[in-house]
């Protein structure tokens, strides 16, 4: 085990896979010689050379098109979209091309590729560089969606995403880049589509993702210590595939569900999880299902404003307590 930052775990995961598989290649803007604007890919070009780790023009459609074309002809490309907000300039390649072509062709070819992207707010970058867009991806059939909350999962899930034969959007939450934890040093691969139960409790199930996971854990600690409410906290880790059983198993015990999303209010993964439970686990529910989200607004830039709208541990606590009434 080594202490790695979430940021360092990115390069560790990529390097692990590039060492074992010659067909893994990596492209993006300022990722190669400069090592990435978030310094997530430092050292990769030095180790794997300029043909495997390559800088591109500012041309996100070209980046994703190149990844797709390479994936369907024998490579396993990893593409970086610097900020996930930029998916909006290349969404066609994701939503209309790589998501659909295998299906349309009735399985004639596969698209083993990964698109990594810095997602989310909390770093005062303003509305065009702070969005949580994992829900955009979840809404499109044909895309797998992963969003780790800690360095160990960054390495393990990124490795799994690279090995996966389908297109995976891998969301790195940028407010977590500086966080550190223990990461296995040897080969480390975590399964896609398995949620992680971080804490078990009897009173309520809190489901969270990415940067909301540490906040949910903080809230759970406060609930236990200050309010005598014990919570199960589930880190979803992946939205597609979705570990519905993990959620159902827990909610069928606790009878209460709170989801915590960083994305704006409407049509997020929390709505999907809530509606799944409201349809299939209705009779096990002891109270309304509550979603904690950012309000349905773009993120403001100023620190005070941004902090006021993102779900905080305090807001999570308040929402859970509403249910306990």
């Amino acid at each position: 085990m080594a202490q790695l930052s979430y940021r360092e775990a990115v390069a560790a995961g990529i390097a692990q896979e590039m060492r074992r598989d010659e067909t893994v290649v990596f492209l993006g803007e300022d990722v190669a010689a400069p090592g990435g604007v978030f310094k997530t890919t430092e050292g990769l070009q030095a180790e794997f050379g300029p043909m495997r780790v390559r800088d591109t023009p500012i041309a996100e459609q070209a980046i994703l098109g190149a990844a797709m074309g390479a994936a369907m002809t024998g490579l396993k490309p990893i593409a970086e979209i610097m900020f996930s907000d930029f998916f909006a300039v290349c969404w066609d390649l994701v939503a209309n091309q790589m998501a659909k072509t295998r299906f349309m062709s009735n399985g004639q070819c596969s698209f083993p590729l990964v698109i990594r992207s810095a997602n989310g707010g909390g770093v005062r970058f303003g509305a065009q560089h702070s969005q949580s867009v994992e829900n955009w991806a979840m809404a499109v059939p044909g895309i797998k969606v992963v969003a780790p909350s800690c360095a160990a999962d960054v390495k393990g899930l990124l490795a799994a995403a690279i090995r996966d034969p389908d297109p995976v959007l891998f969301f790195e939450q940028k407010s977590l880049y500086g966080s550190k934890d223990e990461v296995p040093e040897g080969e480390h691969v975590e399964p896609l589509g398995k949620a992680k139960i971080l804490r078990e409790g009897d009173d309520v199930t809190i489901v969270a993702l990415a940067a909301m996971v540490p906040r949910a854990m903080k809230a759970a600690a406060t609930l236990a210590s200050d309010h005598g409410v014990t919570a199960t906290v589930i880190d979803l880790r992946s939205l597609v595939p979705l570990d519905v059983s993990a959620i159902f198993d827990s909610v069928s015990k606790t009878g209460r569900l709170v989801t915590v999303e960083e994305n704006p209010r409407l049509c997020g993964w929390g709505a999907e999880v809530s509606s799944l439970v409201a349809e299939e686990l209705f009779w096990d529910l002891d109270s309304p299902i509550v979603r904690v989200t950012t309000p349905h607004i773009p993120l403001p830039a100023a620190d005070a404003l941004e902090d006021s709208v993102l779900p905080s541990p305090e807001k999570i606590v308040q929402n859970v307590l509403k249910l306990a009434d």
Binding site: Q61, A62, G65, G69, A70, L75, Q97, S105, Q108
Partner: protein, 352 residues
């Protein structure tokens, strides 16, 4: 800034490697020429049959024919290596056929039958036959251009000597993906040939009304450090020479080409369009330049036996009849396949 059009002129506007090779190319070998003729005919007859099938309402949805543009698909099909890649558009029946994909599979796909290349899951706009290097037909204008760059990147990385060829229309040169793909391919020196089939119309609007240069491919190539190439797309010998030269260049590691090929579609843009916005004289002039009868005459003039050509025609007619019959007799696909093969494991499951 506008340059004069040099229609009917096989030479490139700026003389580069490809232009020089086109100029120096002799006529193709007789066997090649017969193959080109055969291929054009197969395309023509297949699409005419597709038209009849629409009329009988056996083809649903939309469909885009390339009647009149066959010389381009045929020439590239002949000039390409078996393992090269093609990327084409919704107007891609011919580009798929010339790679060796099954005609039954194509007509079956248009008809939504189980024998279709994609068993009805793709439809007319999405023909694909990966085993033949036909890497798909894409229906969002421009999207396949960076995808073709990706296949070329893969060939370059694997050092396989393969080339990706990407067909698209004049109207496509105004969308962002065109620009990104061209610059990207040039900077990475990728083995890809971009073929702009300028048929003078973007759907119902003349290309000149929506494009700031006269020749959307040739006048834009220099913006990517590429040579300007403008050729007559209704002369299959010239297209064959251009295809060979651009493929050679790409295969030799000298990077991409953008080839503008001037042509005309005989019908409307799609099934729904009678093409009435086109002046009668324009249509008539281009019908005169139909690549197929003109080539037949050229072959006769070159001393090829009329009987040889007749045989080719009869054979292709029989091939189309056979393909149609098989497709007609094919059942609709089983309903289960609507939910398979989203993922590589064959399923479309998103939850446990």
């Amino acid at each position: 800034m506008k340059r004069e059009t040099e229609l009917n002129n096989a030479t490139a506007k700026a003389k580069g490697q490809v232009a020089a090779a086109i100029e120096n190319a002799g006529v193709p070998e007789p066997d090649t020429r017969l193959a080109l003729y055969r291929s054009m005919l197969a395309c023509r007859m297949m699409e005419q049959r597709a038209y009849d099938l629409f009329m009988q309402n056996l083809i649903k949805g939309t469909s885009h024919l390339a009647l009149g543009q066959e010389a381009i698909a045929a020439a590239f099909g002949e000039a390409m290596r078996k393992d090269d890649y093609t990327f084409c558009t919704y107007r891609g029946h011919n580009h798929t056929l010339v790679r060796g994909a099954s005609m039954t599979g194509i007509l079956g796909e248009l008809m939504g039958r189980d024998c279709g290349l994609l068993r009805g899951k793709g439809g007319s706009m999405h023909l694909m036959s990966v085993e033949h290097g036909a890497m798909g037909s894409y229906a969002i204008v421009g999207a396949h251009m960076p995808i073709a760059a990706g296949a070329a990147w893969s060939a370059q990385y694997r050092d396989s000597g393969q080339v990706a060829v990407c067909f698209f229309g004049d109207g496509t040169t105004n969308i962002g993906a065109f620009h990104e793909a061209l610059n990207f391919s040039a900077v990475w020196s990728l083995p890809v040939v971009y073929v702009c089939e300028n048929n003078l119309y973007m759907e119902y609007t003349p290309i000149g009304e929506v494009t700031a240069v006269e020749n959307p491919g040739a006048d834009r190539a220099p913006a990517y450090g590429l040579e300007s190439i403008l050729i007559d797309g209704n002369d299959v010998d010239i297209v064959y020479a251009a295809a060979s030269a651009a493929l050679d260049k790409a295969r030799s590691g000298a990077g991409p080409s953008l080839v503008e090929v001037q042509t005309y579609r005989h019908g409307g843009h799609s099934r729904a369009d009678p093409g009435k916005y086109r002046p009668d004289e324009e249509v008539a002039a281009w019908m005169e330049r139909d690549p197929i009868p003109n080539y037949r005459q050229r072959l006769l003039d070159a001393g090829i036996d009329e009987a040889t050509l007749d045989t080719i025609e009869t054979e292709q007619a029989a091939r189309v009849d056979k393909a149609e019959e098989t497709a007609r007799n094919s059942a609709p696909p089983p309903l289960e396949i609507a939910q398979t093969d989203l993922w590589a494991d064959g399923s479309s499951t998103w939850r446990n």
